[in-house]
Amino acid sequence: MDETRLSAWIASHLGIPDLRIEESRPLGGGSIQENRLIRCRSGEGVREFVLRRDAAATIASSRSRREEFRLLEAAHAAGVRVPEPVGFCDDAGVIGAPFALMGLVAGVGLGPRIAKDLALGGDREKLAEDLGRELAKIHGVLDPRQDPPPALAFLGPPEPDPARAEIARLRENLDGIGAKRPAIEWGLRWAEAAAPPCPAPALVHRDFRTGNYMVDEAGLTAILDWEFAGWGDPAQDLGWFCAACWRFGRLDKEAGGIGSREAFERGYAAGGGQPVERERVAYWEVMAHLRWAVIALEQGARHVSGREFSLELALTGRMVPELEQAILAATAPAAWPRSHSDA
């Protein structure tokens, strides 16, 4: 990476002519994106940023860096606890690709570690409540009855039927990698038959789960990873957060492996969220397993295709049967709507 150009861009963007990059190193995490820590100095002042750009291969369903940055700005303006959006650079000439620059947030984001290490995140019931409250704020960022602001025009209008739209996308993704997975197809077909209507669409994060927020010893520091956000059913985010596949082994902690569902729902209500319909959330928990299974297959395919060598991606592709087990358990013949189970 050309640090002279990057340094000049940051200096000019912030209007600090003597700003210099003091340190630049990769940060862990992010199978879709590459994150780097950039530490800058100007006189006695030090500022630390995270620079985010696309990793070698991206999965088709994620947004562009620019769109992700606009969503981050909107969330920040609405008071959601997110990293400070510092700037976006369209000019690929600076570091070889467009990138977003954000304020560095202290804390730990790794899901398995947060689930296991109780010294992190402060009081866990309060953490669950805080996450519920932040999620409600996210769902209130946009008014579905109005056109989004010009910076978010790419969102378009809400889909009339978010569950079926999601199912169509997942089938497309499966076809895109040539995956033949009858168990996932079974789950998707059940989801199609059982799809609930969505009377109140909202801006949804679509990757709101343990592993995509940061905590320090005291509690929540930031909600990360806005690359899948868009219009949808708010119950999708609640279901994704609570789905058993995102509890990192702490199955008893139904809210993301870190707290009780009650605490999470309490925070969601306190933050102004619509009343939680458990049945609707349960539907989206099955959808969460379906979506994660499809993403895991896509990640495995990145390795299998030979485009990218990665043992981590290869192993992710092999975890799919465990998700299929959960999907099949939730979609036994008796769980189908009556109109589809009359044999």
């Binding site: 168990a183 197809e185 998707l188 038959a193 192993l315 044999a343």
Partner: protein
């Protein structure tokens, strides 16, 4: 005649040697990678060990048709809530899941 130890035995021996003798001396990223390698070797060994049952579960599921035909039938709603299909899918997923992650002993 096959030479002993078999390929599957060797993979399992390699996994054990790695997990018991190499991993304890490692820290950081190398430890993480070594654990992933051990995990991958375990999966490969179990897959070889279960090859016959996997093939049987697959044959039972497809019942003479190809995977393409089954996927199409499910998508088109021709197998909705079909108990026999659900049972075959579950049997295959249970088997494959046990290959991904060994079942707790005692089973």
């Amino acid at each position: 005649m096959r030479d002993d130890p078999s390929g599957a035995d060797l993979i399992e021996a390699a996994r054990r040697a790695l997990a018991e003798e190499v991993v304890p001396g490692l820290t950081g990223r190398p430890r993480y990678v070594a654990l992933m390698v051990a995990n991958a070797l375990g999966i490969a060994a179990r897959e070889i060990g279960e090859a016959d049952r996997l093939a049987a579960a697959e044959a039972d599921l497809l019942a003479g048709d190809g995977a393409d035909a089954l996927v199409r039938a499910i998508r088109e709603g021709r197998r909705d809530a079909d108990p026999a299909l659900h049972a075959a899918l579950s049997a295959k997923a249970d088997l494959a899941s046990g290959i991904w992650k060994p079942r707790p002993s005692g089973k």
